[in-house]
Amino acid sequence: MALGVVLMSGGIDSPVAADMILSQGHRLVAVHMDNRPFTDDSPLAKVRDHLKVLSARYGSPIPLTVLPHGSTQIALMRNTDRHVGCVLCRRFMWRAAEQVALREGAGFLVTGEALGQVASQTLSNMRTATSAVALPIVRPLVGFDKQEIEARAKALGTYGISTRPGLCCQAVPDKPATRTSLLKILEEEDRLDVGRMVEDVSRHAQVL
């Protein structure tokens, strides 16, 4: 069985995606991108509670690495086109998760993305976002609709945790692009020191 890294946001989808991978006998380590000050403390608390549910269900702890993402968001806002901010944000998340995977010896990345649910999850944006990394990305929920995912989350016991009060990401632009070209994204990233930013994030990782 293989080891993967799952991105956990505190939302409804990611614990369901993690459960589907764990149920097949694979092992996971979790990564949470800490988006403060663009959100509050609630997403991290939710992720920790999600992992308690999953750890109890599968009888083994799931390590959690928390990586700072707020400073990345600030750099993106200051230096890049807001219209494509969600895709740029995702690319940094993927890079950070890949660094954790390489350190842990994990061979794949897992996400709760489902096609077309939000701006960052159109087919076009998924493609431009994930081209930032080389590891394969597994999306167990890709073809599910929201109702199916919620039903699974309720059965799993994570839905109530995900829907506790919290602050949505404030870094989302008013009109996020739903179609992006890789050329445009690379031009925007040319305004940033991508390598240094990823290194900074990795250096401030906290393993809980």
Partner: protein
């Protein structure tokens, strides 16, 4: 500068104040005023993140997000900040 009454955000973790009519703030001026009043501010160019309890985000379009689910605390923070936004 006038605002609609505070409204609980969809995630129920914060209150939002929306200006009426819509307007665009000069965030550089707002930032200067905030810092002169002793508040810590992170300038993200398109928004200001104001430290304190509760933290407040000030958007370029004049919206405020006050990071508390407590209506009284949100109202109090809003009233404190409003004079600093006038005329910007």
């Amino acid at each position: 500068m006038s605002y609609h009454s505070l409204k609980l955000c969809s995630g129920k973790g914060a209150y939002e104040a929306v200006p009426e009519p819509k307007r665009r703030l000069d965030l550089r001026r707002v930032r200067t005023r905030l810092e002169r009043s002793g508040r810590s501010v992170i300038d993200a160019r398109v928004m200001l993140l104001v430290g304190g309890d509760p933290e407040v985000t000030i958007m370029q379009d004049g919206r405020l997000v006050i990071k508390t689910p407590d209506a009284r605390q949100a109202e109090s923070a809003f009233r404190d900040l409003l004079p600093l936004l006038e005329g910007t």
